[in-house]
Structures are given as C-alpha cells and as structure tokens.
C-alpha cells in the first residue's frame, strides 16, 4: 500500500457510512521487530494546517487550536485497530459518536446552527 496514494487525504466514514473527516495525517509507530507501522489515522484542521504549511497552514491550525479550548486533547486520533475496509473511502468499525467531535462542528452548532429554529428537523 502506498501511504500517500491510498491513505492520505482519503475520506473516513464510520460504520454507518457517516463522514468522520479526512485522513489529514498518519501516526507511525514501531512494532516489536522495529519495523515502522501505521498506528493511527489523524484528522482535524490542526493536522491539516501542519501539512499545508506556511502562513495559511499556521492560520488554519491556529484557529482549530483556539476552538478546541482549554481542555484541548490534540487532534482526533483513530487507532488502526478501528479501521475496517479501505476502499474509495476508509470504513471504520466504530460509530462516529464514539469518537471526539471536531471542535468547529461543536462550536458552530452551539453558537449558530443549533439556535436557528428547525435545526433538528430532517427535510
């Protein structure tokens, strides 16, 4: 498998097909024999900002960091054991609810979208 071609920037969906995010970066670890292995997928604007780099990248990462607030636990990390099939998207074996919610989504729901009448209705 080619890391850059088959994994990075691919859409992650949960076991119900709900979008979770993109593979903005991967975490590498070493197994018992010292061979590097992918240990987790990382997603979120902070990781993405680092990959984009430059002033714009720093800005994207900075905004994400500020939104995460004081209890910031770093980017959303999805352990490789939670990954199911890798196709045109990456299917997880867990539900989106089991993962930490992206801070921007939470903030916008609480401060803007959730306050508008009808936000909870399906159309």
């Amino acid at each position: 498998m080619l890391l850059g071609f088959d994994l990075l920037d691919r859409q992650i969906v949960d076991r119900d097909g709900q979008p979770v995010g993109k593979v903005d970066d991967v975490e590498l670890g070493y197994d018992a024999d010292g061979v590097p292995r992918i240990s987790a997928l990382l997603t979120g604007q902070r990781v993405l900002g680092r990959r984009i780099g430059g002033g714009l990248g720093r800005w994207i990462a900075g905004v994400a960091h500020r939104l995460a607030g004081p209890g910031d636990r770093g980017p959303v990390r999805i352990g490789i054991e939670q990954v199911g099939r890798i196709g045109s998207a990456i299917d997880l074996t867990v539900s989106r609810g089991d993962l930490p919610e992206p801070p921007l989504e939470t903030w916008l729901r609480e401060h803007l979208i959730g306050r508008i009448p009808g936000a909870g209705h399906e159309s």
């Binding site: 992650i12 995010g21 993109k22 984009i52 045109s88 989504e105 979208i113 909870g120 399906e122 159309s123």
Partner: protein, 410 residues
C-alpha cells in the same frame, strides 16, 4: 413505471436546470450583437458539459464518492485548497448573479426595484435550503423553468429569415461593426456559461444524496445526454430570438427586460408572463444549486458531514458555509453592481477557473482504484482531452481578451 417517471422527471429537470442567468445573458447578448454567428460555440459547450457530467456521474455512481471528495486525494491538500478557493469564489459570484437575476425578474413583474427584492429572495432561498425537501424544490423549479420554451414558440412566431440565420451560423466571425477580439470574448463567455463549474459539483453531490449506485449509471447517462442538449436548445432559442429581433436593428441587449422583449413581440402579455416565470424559476433554481455547491465543495475538501438529507445540527459546518455564501452573494449585490454586469464578470472568472474543475475530473475518471473497469473508454478520453485543451485555451485567453476589448465593448 415508477422508474420511467423518475427518468422522465430527471430529464425535464435537467432541461430547466441547464439554463441560468449566465446562459440567459450570454445567449441574448451574443444573439443581438453577432446574430447566431456563435451557434457553434453553444454546440461545443453543450457537448463539453455532457462529456464531463457523464464522467462525474459515473465516478460518483461507481465509487459512491462525489467528485470534489476525490480531488484532494489526487491533487494533495495544497493544490486542492487552491482549487477549492477558486471554485468557491466563482460559485459565490455566480450565486450573487443568480440572486440578482431573480430580483430583476421580480422587478419586471412587480415594478418594485430589484435591490429591495434581493434580501427577500435571499431569505426565501436560505429557508428553502434549510427546511424544504430538496428533490421537491429541484423538480418544481426545473419544471417551471420549462416556461422558457416560450422563446422557442416566439422564434417560430416571429417569422425569422432562415436563409439569413443560416448565413450567420455557417460563417462564424464578427459581422460588420464588430472585430475578432469581441467575437472571441463573447465566444468564451458563452462557452463558460454552458460549462459552469457548479453544475458538475452539484450533479455528483446530488447523486450521492440520492444514493446512486452502479445500477443508476443508465439514469445518469439519460439525464445528461438528453436533458442537457434539450436545455441547450432553450439557450439557443434565446440566442435565435435575440438575433431575429435585435441584430437587424444593430441594438445591443443589456437588461433582462430586453431579453424578454422577443417573447412580448411575438405573444404579447402571455409571452411576457411565461418569459418572466421562466427567468424566475431558472435563476432561483440555479441560486439553490450554487448555494448548496459552495457548501458541498468546502465540506468535501475538509471531510465534514454535508448534505440536505441530514438534520442541519448534524451538519453545522456545511450549513454555516451555505448561509455564509448566501450572505456574501447578497453583499456583492448590495454594492449596487448591475446584476447583468456581475453576470458578465462571473462568466469570465468561470472561464479562468474551468481547468481547476475539469482536469481533476478527467484524472479521477481514469483511476481504476475508484472505478475498476468503469474507467473512461477511448471515446470519453479523446473527447475529454480535446475539451481540456479548449478549456485551457479559453482560460488563458479570457483575461487578456477582457482587458483588450474592455469587457466586449470593442
């Protein structure tokens, strides 16, 4: 039987949905100034949108992923971000132009100034995207847009001179009083109006929302290959009527009321009513599509949850982008820029941004990783590459021609 109706509805919606403010303005303006000497450009544009919409429909039906979702995987985060910025800019400008078009149609119907209508239209648009069932709206506005058939009827009523029209169509080039610079400038605007980028984003995202699979490929193809050319016919009728009425008088068209004039001349008040209804439906429908498309592209770049079928609170970021682009569209119009002029600028910027949209589609449509054995065949690739060359040429020439012809003023 149910399937038959859904296909028929898809075709009708594609016909009405093809025409937006860009097509209305570009076709009527070129018709008035150049006769139908640009007829071939419209034909080239319609074939182009068919080729690329078929590809993006196929990519989505087979892979289950919308086109813009895959763009980032193949271009990388930086290039895709530049692509996103260009696409969103053009889409929001187009949204502004469509809102202005709705305002102008309402102004003609009510004599209340369009700038007063724009905020009202924007609120209705937002409410529609917030709460209403999208498939219903799409069908209603697509079908109502068919009122533009009045221009086909008007053309036949006006008793055109087929010999003269044939003369214009068969001899592409500037008539007396125009030069090659303005001829090509309008050719690019017309080409861009047929290949507006939001159409493919919208088409493929809509296919995901409707959960298309490989079995829907045939529906996709029928919609594209029947609906878009028939839509192009409506656009051609605008050019024909304008060429019949205004070109012999050496008049130029620079307002929506003038575009409607041939329908009034041929069919009186009924013609006016049908034309205004058609303008209203076509521009409002396109405003819905552009508003959603801005949200689709941003959400698909970042991997956010998106779509009309989710509760807004479950796609808060997507709905924020949609809301933000409507506000931005209104803000553009509130600068009191003439909506027709805004449309002209939008078409030229679209032309510049076209390669950003269409190159990645061609790349992805050749990717066996997503499409297996449904990748582009020889014909699709040959046409795709030819069109890409045309698209790049148009993109490169757009701004220099805009500058040298002073927006086509000559």
């Amino acid at each position: 039987m149910k399937r038959f109706f859904s296909v028929a509805l898809g075709i009708l919606t594609a016909i009405g949905g093809f025409v937006d403010i860009g097509d209305i303005v570009a076709n009527a303006e070129t018709g008035a100034r150049f006769g139908i000497a640009h007829a071939w450009v419209l034909l080239v544009g319609v074939v182009g949108i068919c080729v690329y919409a078929e590809m993006s429909g196929r990519v989505t039906a087979v892979s289950g992923r919308p086109v813009f979702d895959l763009v980032r995987e193949r271009l990388g985060p930086r290039m895709a971000l530049a692509n996103l910025a260009g696409s969103v800019l053009v889409t929001v400008l187009t949204l502004g132009a469509e809102l202005g078009g709705v305002g102008l149609a309402l102004q003609l119907a009510t004599s209340v100034g369009y700038l007063l209508w724009v905020p009202v239209v924007a609120v209705v648009l937002w409410a529609a995207l917030w709460r209403a069932k999208f498939s219903v709206l799409e069908n209603v506005f697509g079908l109502t847009g068919l009122a533009l058939i009045v221009f086909v009827v008007a053309f036949l009523h006006l008793g055109p001179d087929p010999g003269q029209l044939w003369q214009q169509a068969a001899h592409p080039g500037p008539p007396q009083g125009e030069d090659w610079g303005t001829y090509w400038f309008f050719a690019i605007a017309l080409f861009a109006s047929a290949l507006t980028p939001y159409e493919v984003f919208f088409f493929s995202s809509g296919a995901v929302e409707e959960r298309w699979t490989a079995r829907d490929l045939i529906t996709s193809r029928i919609n594209v290959f029947v609906g878009f050319p028939l839509g192009g016919l409506l656009a051609f009728a605008l050019m024909l009527t304008s060429a019949t009425v205004f070109h012999p008088l050496a008049m130029s068209v620079d307002s929506l009321s003038q575009v409607a004039m041939p329908a009034v001349l041929a069919l009186g008040e009924l013609g006016l009513a049908a034309a205004l209804l058609g303008f209203f439906a076509a521009t409002f429908g396109a405003a819905m599509e552009t508003g959603l498309s801005a949200g689709y592209t941003v959400a698909q770049y970042f991997g956010w949850s998106w779509g009309k079928l989710r509760r807004p609170r479950e796609a808060a970021r997507f709905h924020t982008v949609v809301l933000g682009s409507i506000v931005a569209g209104v803000a553009i119009l509130m600068t009191t820029i003439d909506p027709i002029q805004l449309t002209e600028y939008t078409l030229i910027f679209s032309a510049v941004a076209l390669p950003l949209t269409y190159l990645p589609i061609l790349v992805v449509a050749n990717d066996r990783g997503y499409l297996g054995n449904r990748v582009n065949g020889r014909t699709a690739n040959a046409l795709g590459i030819i069109y890409l060359i045309v698209i790049v040429a148009a993109a490169v020439a757009a701004v220099p021609l805009m500058a040298t012809t002073r927006m086509g003023a000559g």
